[in-house]
């Protein structure tokens, strides 16, 4: 798999007695959009978080850009700066305004000069549609605006890939689309994306591949059209039956 940006090879993880990830094999190519679906507690978020080592694994190997994930330290910090993450709870830094939230990483990790980092941040905020919110603090923004700011913060690192961990699950329904639109545009621009989500419409329109997980395993993996029209397993049919009503 020479062109795979992210590879998980026989990854296992336990939370105490719970086998949270079972022999996960997955690869994501550069430019690919992979949606991970599955019921709550199926291990989707956990898998997503192992890729930048916010969760450690018990055995198996994770490769990013052909290199195995380093242990905690400078090497890992460098890798994390290349694989950005967008969280369910946005997790913007409360004490910084939106502009500084976006510019912090480039200034401190990439050592960009302040003026350059701020200019880039402003451009990115315009790109995600909140150019007029730059001076506000996170708590002054709606959930949808906060999540778009978090996407701008991820983009500011010019990452090779972005991990989305249920990016719309904490949003009021009317704000889901504004975030999905930004993500759709990113996908069109060729960003490599791993998206844990319950938004099956997004999966169908944007994903190149859907990965279905249940009880810590990857149960099914298929292009969206095949997955939605002709799921191969009982568990996937059951899940789709519940979610697509």
């Amino acid at each position: 798999m020479p062109d795979s940006l992210i590879v998980l090879d026989k990854v296992n993880k336990w939370f105490g007695g719970l086998h949270a990830l079972r022999d996960i094999n997955l690869s994501v190519k550069a430019g690919e959009v992979v949606v991970v679906a599955g019921p709550s507690g199926s291990g989707k978020s956990t898998m997503c978080r192992t890729i930048n080592r916010l969760e450690t694994i018990d055995n198996g190997t994770i490769f990013v850009n052909g290199e195995p994930l380093p242990a905690e330290g400078r090497e890992l910090a460098k890798l994390r700066s290349e694989v950005a993450m967008v969280f369910q709870q946005f997790n913007l830094f409360s004490h910084l305004n939106i502009l500084d939230n976006v510019a912090l990483g480039p200034m401190k990790v990439r050592r960009q000069p302040k003026a350059e980092a701020h200019q880039q941040a402003r451009d990115l905020l315009v790109r995600v549609g909140i150019g007029d919110q730059a001076e506000k603090y996170p708590a002054q923004l709606s959930g949808g605006q906060q999540q778009r700011a978090a996407i701008a913060r991820a983009l500011a690192m010019r990452p090779k890939a972005i991990l989305f961990d249920e990016p719309t699950s904490a949003l009021d329904p009317e704000m889901v689309n504004e975030v999905l639109e930004v993500m759709t545009q990113l996908a069109r621009d060729g960003m490599t994306m791993l998206v844990v989500t319950h938004e099956m419409g997004f999966a169908r329109r944007v994903a190149h591949r859907v990965v279905f997980m249940d009880t810590g395993q990857i149960v099914e993996e298929a292009p969206p059209e095949a997955f939605f029209t002709n799921p191969q397993t009982e568990r996937a049919r059951d899940f789709l039956g519940k979610i697509l009503k």
Binding site: K78, R80, S81, N91, H95, L104, K108, V109, M157
Partner: protein, 215 residues
């Protein structure tokens, strides 16, 4: 009454030393407390243990004994400072533990997601502390820090027993000389303490409003 009015300038002058000791010790214990709190949350176990031992021992020792150990213990091993410097050291060691514990509470109050986001951005442990954790933790512990520093202000009086001519030391001398107005001198001293403490309280309240983070 005339005796008291005559004594007041000397008393007020002694408060200069009290205030110097308070401000210097507040500054140094803030530095010690920040470093200790950072070590306490670091991923390196020996650093965490070292701080845990320091906090447990020094915080639970009466301040007078901390003074005794610094003032009489350190010269035994050849370390000699002025009484003022010894007092500063003792107060810093003691107050540093309270600052560290207060800050640790502030650090624990930061949503874990923000720390994960900072790490996911590629910031190192020190950078996460410096740019995300400490600025928020310090802001959120302004009110309890005010109590710690007001306690420090009054704790400087222990230095009087160790040769520092601060307010309480001066008051004691004065009481010995002017034995007819003991209560007046003590009352006046207490009132000056209260006045300064109230002033600090106001300053911290102002700082608290400035530091407020909208959540």
């Amino acid at each position: 009454m005339n005796e008291l009015i005559g004594a007041l300038p000397i008393l007020l002058h002694a408060f200069v030393t009290t205030l110097e000791l308070t401000f210097l010790a507040a500054l140094t214990s803030l530095v010690v407390g920040i470093i200790a709190a950072a070590m306490r949350v670091s991923p390196v176990p020996p650093l965490r243990w070292a701080v845990s031992v320091y906090v447990r021992f020094v915080r639970n020792t009466p301040l007078t004994i901390v003074f005794f150990i610094t003032v009489f213990g350190l010269p035994q091993v050849g370390i000699n400072f002025s009484f003022f410097a010894f007092a500063l050291l003792a107060l810093t060691l003691y107050t540093g533990t309270f600052v560290a514990e207060t800050l640790r509470a502030g650090i624990q109050a930061i949503p874990i997601g923000q720390i994960e986001a900072a790490r996911a951005t590629g910031l190192t442990f020190i950078q996460v502390l410096r740019y995300v954790v400490l600025p928020q933790a310090l802001r959120s512990v302004v009110p309890p820090l005010a109590s710690v520093f007001i306690a420090l202000f009054k704790n400087t009086s222990i230095a009087s027993a160790f040769g520092v001519a601060e307010a309480i030391g001066t008051m004691t001398n004065m009481v010995n000389v002017h034995s007819t107005i003991v209560l007046w001198v003590m009352g006046a001293t207490a009132i000056i303490y209260i006045a300064f403490a109230l002033l600090f309280g106001r300053a911290f309240a102002w700082l608290e409003r400035k530091a407020l983070i909208v959540r």
